[in-house]
Symmetry: C2
């Protein structure tokens, strides 16, 4: 089938595009450009033609090339061949998400999960033994956490690691079928070693889940005695990643196979840890793996961008219907199409801004510049919430973009098939989204209780009066009635103007986040005080609890986006970004306007004004749609044959 | 990888399941059971292992087997080997959607589109020439409508059919690249003949788009002279269907190749038609193809059901977290999980009920028992709206169910990969959903205008007063304020009880549909009266117009579901169905509670009560989740290896 050249991209001002891309690329532009250049090199574009086993071979070859080119070592310490720049390494990983997503995940497993476990859970002897080979991909490794019986509930994993003091060895064992390791990336074909998560038992006592380094295959690729590996088989997507199942039959590894940064066992089998509380110890260990969550978040955002570029190119070239007797009109002229694409582009920008902030925080903490326990906890909360929201955004928006391209989006040669199938599992891996939102909410509620406990009696009283007043205002509807009367009795009042003020937007999203949080705390405490079974209380409030996390993330997104817009010193760009930020804020408020009205924060008149303003902003931003998406800087090679989507109208 | 036997399905009362399935199966239970039995036969289960060309071969073989078994001829006239039962044929087709969806679409193309074009657009000589061979699948045919340049806008197709009076022949021609036929099912490999839609030109004058029978390949499969066919290549899904591109280079066919039910051309090239208005003629011709839209709607509903059964089985067996120190709890116990699955199950039931009603109407019209022009138009409106809503439901719910199954849902061996990829294009083919919703709204607005015009001056005035009063009530907020005061001043008033009354639910959805319709009519008329360019007026109101169609469908769904529940004479089932109907109604109202508050139909207190009642219904219906989904009667063979989803917890 004939492939015609790319149609001209309708960007009025290519120089403006370059400036916007610089603004988006931020401090790690160099790392992003490195990966972009690699993706543009011949032979590095995604290949929808490969059969799954060929795809695995190709992905491993790509990963080695990328390692050789220095694209995967940026985040590791310099003494082991790394670049020592965590922030830049995440920016590079994010950019890789514009290309083949199996390659992305393969790299995530090798360098992020396996390498990250050695780096963060191990100590110097582990670093010396494994990191240089890991970074160079001479030692393909696995991260063997998930089991058939337990995925999200990691504390209940069933694989055992029992210390045998006589032999000075650990015995790694799969005691029953539900304890087999499942979905382990790099296991089915390439992995030679694994960080295995297992219940540590020594001197007859269990100490909870810890990580152990366990060899899987010899240098020739033969599976070692006591280890059994099966292929998970073909998946819905990501077929270039060799996920496998692993069973251990009393496999023996030396005592120092324990990754012992947070817990040590001496030759007699005596267990010690700098962190006394076992629960806290577990969450500290798991917490070091946060980089994976942050990386998946960034990857989801960038995979979404690829779909958005394709959809906007199609919308700017495909003509359909129009005024009688005149030329048909490009899809982008239609309000329904603007509504379909533009608010999601605004959200991608908000996510991008918040991701940049989150990466900076992670960088500061992991490079040791920020040792604040509170900041680490805030990061954990944010990473959990952001990962859920960004991956959900990816799934929904990629689908929306496919549909917005009509039949053309359904060709395998275009990227949608891979984008959809490969990102699908992002909502599940590195933490199921529903579980993560509850984790984020739990942290917020715990912090809220702390804050609450810190208040002196007077402050506490004042705090409660405030709370109570809000509740009364809400219940009696006095506030809304007053608001409505004000709305309705002031003809010509500039509703839309007020809604466009950043303070109004921030005020609404902040109030919702605070109110939902305090409300959830009250409900949980109320249920407990009433003597209801705590689990039942939680289940009854669960939708409220999840909403708390979502509201928190929305607030963070708007704050981050607004801050980045304010810092933009390019007047022309800033004007567009300012509108885009308003579109994000108001489409977010519009989506939950039921809630804002229920809580007296929007009168019905203002609520309708929100809808009108979103429509107006869509119309005003429509001429910038191509600018906004082309500035993502997606390499042309990453579109595969996607220009076939855009050639149709002109063919 | 080991596959363990199916776990026991937790349905307390298998006899109850059978009764519920009978209720769901309705009048065409026989046709449904025929297809179920066929799907359960060895070798008929979906095969995720096939490479795409093998898949095509398998699908053609299946289609022939199914034709031999009588599963595809039910809707054709008896004299051509059919069963003469249109309603039963759609029920059979719907059921086929539980199996391999490429087979479904292949059958849809052959028997629905090609066969349907001959049957409905042709006359007796065409029926005699083609139907028997079509029904037996001795003559594989195509439906060549879509072109590269025009998909939705069929009136602007560019292929030409020019009458050559000297030769008494039509000359079928592709004048430019954008006129090539694209996405034509059955074309790349199997099709020997096609119904080609082209601009009819005779005696130097164009008469718009008409359909012509054009041979494509000889009996040996060789493509005929003047015809060029290319393969569309691999797609995102449905790879068992051989979609192709077709070009015609002045291909000559005899005069009677014109499917001439609605337009005839005599030997001199004189054109005549029983329908004078060319626009009306076009829409009459296209309108006969409505069966395809109704069939896709039913197929989407049934594909969704497969996903829902898998998700509920998983949710009833997979354990995760739970009260400290106790056994983990099955997912279905969680409110978030109930929220995720149950309202969508309720909507599948509502769609199923409405689909049954729609099929009955179609049956009456197409069998000639109902000749009402108004009914035909209502059916067109309904089919457009329902197809959009049901296919959107399929895309969203299948995704939700995949995620609700966690990693297990990501295995290719389970059905989600195919369900997702194959149904994806349902939102696009047989009419893009956004275009269809506008078509439905346009019909509703036209009918509204007619209704409006029929009123006498007094009636009109009364009508307007009513309208105006609503508008004033809404604007001044008087109504809502009064409502709120009533809510707030009556402590203990049974909000939830009232919300559970069917009349309340119907009242809200009917009011919204009516109000949106009259509001859209006012806005459109207002814009036109103000002298704004009509196209601009339409674009500005486009989101409102689409909302009109959605509100109409929601109303129809609730009315149909409520009616079917009332007709259920099984007291025990009826109690469950009654709750399920309320869950559908209230979750629909909940989703748009922003609108209901804006329009003074829900006070903020009542709006919150809607949320609480949805939660309560989820809790109450939770014990029936398995019953409700198992009663869909999905054949076990249709799950592929999907029990691997449910074995995980017990493995």
């Amino acid at each position: 089938m004939a492939v015609t050249p790319h149609p001209a991209v309708p960007v009025a001002d290519p120089e403006g595009r370059a400036r916007l891309q610089r603004w988006l690329d931020g401090p790690h532009a160099g790392a992003r450009d490195l990966v972009r250049a690699w993706l543009e090199e011949p032979g590095h574009a995604p290949r929808p033609d490969l059969e799954w086993q060929e795809h695995r071979t190709q992905v491993m070859a790509w990963a080695k090339e990328l390692a050789d080119a220095g694209g995967t070592s940026i985040g590791f310490p310099e003494q082991y061949g790394g670049g020592g720049d965590v922030g830049a390494s995440i920016a590079a990983f994010e950019t890789l998400a514009m290309g083949d997503l199996s390659l992305l995940v393969k790299c995530g497993v090798q360098f992020g999960l396996w390498g990250g476990a050695v780096l963060h859970l191990g100590t110097e002897r582990h670093h010396r033994a494994y990191l240089a080979d890991t970074v160079a991909l001479r030692l393909p490794g696995c991260f063997a956490m998930t089991e058939t019986g337990h995925g999200s509930n990691v504390q209940q994993l069933e694989t055992t690691a029992t210390y045998d003091a006589d032999a000075d060895e650990w015995v790694i064992h799969t005691p029953r079928e539900s304890a087999r390791k499942e979905w382990i990336g790099n296991a089915a074909r390439d992995g030679r070693i694994a960080a295995v998560f297992a219940q540590l038992e020594t001197q007859g006592k269990g100490h909870g889940v810890h990580a152990f380094v366990v060899p899987l295959r010899g240098e020739d690729g033969t599976v070692l005695p006591g280890v059994r590996i099966e292929d998970c088989g073909q998946k819905l997507g990501l077929d270039g990643v060799d996920n496998g199942l692993i069973w251990f039959d009393r496999v023996r590894v030396p005592r120092d196979a324990l990754l012992d940064r947070y817990a040590q066992v001496d030759g007699d089998g005596a267990y010690s840890s700098p962190i006394e509380n076992p629960n806290k110890r577990f969450f500290t260990m798991v917490g070091t793996l946060i980089q994976g969550r942050v990386s998946v978040c960034g990857a989801a955002i960038n995979a979404t961008k690829v779909a958005q570029v394709i959809a906007v190119r199609h919308a700017e070239t495909r003509r359909q219907f129009g005024p009688p007797g005149q030329e048909e009109v490009v899809l982008m002229e239609y309000r329904t199409h603007q509504r379909r694409l533009l608010p999601d582009i605004a959200k991608s920008y908000a996510l991008h801004a918040a991701q940049e902030g989150m990466v900076a925080k992670l960088d500061a903490i992991f490079s040791g510049h920020d040792a604040s326990e509170r900041h680490r906890r805030e990061l954990e909360t944010l990473a959990a919430g952001m990962k859920a929201v960004a991956t959900e955004h990816a799934t929904r928006v990629i689908q929306e973009c496919r549909e917005a391209c009509g039949g053309a989006g359904y060709l395998r040669a275009n990227r949608f098939a891979a984008l959809k199938a490969d990102t699908d599992v992002f909502t599940t891996f590195e933490g199921d989204n529903t579980v993560l939102l509850q984790l984020a909410a739990k942290n917020l509620l715990t912090d809220y209780q702390v804050h609450f406990g810190d208040l002196d009696p007077l402050g506490l009283a004042g705090f409660f009066v405030g709370e109570a007043w809000e509740t009364v205002a809400e219940k009696s509807a006095v506030r809304e009635v007053l608001g409505r009367l004000a709305d309705d009795l002031s003809p010509g009042r500039d509703e839309q103007g007020q809604l466009l003020e950043r303070e109004t937007q921030l005020g609404l999203l902040r109030w919702r986040a605070d109110h939902m949080l305090s409300g959830a705390a009250r409900r949980l405490k109320g249920g407990m005080d009433a003597g209801t079974d705590p689990f039942e209380v939680l289940v009854n409030c669960q939708d409220h609890v999840v909403a708390v996390a979502r509201a928190h993330v929305d607030r963070v997104l708007l704050e981050a986006f607004a801050e980045r817009v304010e810092a933009c010193d390019d007047v022309a760009l800033r004007a567009v970004l300012d509108q885009l930020c308003s579109l994000f804020a108001l489409s977010t408020i519009e989506a939950d306007r039921g809630w804002f009205q229920e809580h007296g924060r929007l009168s019905s008149t203002r609520s309708k004004a929100v809808i009108k303003t979103v429509n107006r902003l869509c119309g005003e931003l429509r001429p910038h749609a191509a600018l906004l998406t082309e500035a993502y800087g997606v390499p042309e090679a990453a579109f595969g044959d996607a220009h076939r989507v855009t050639q149709r109208a002109d063919a």
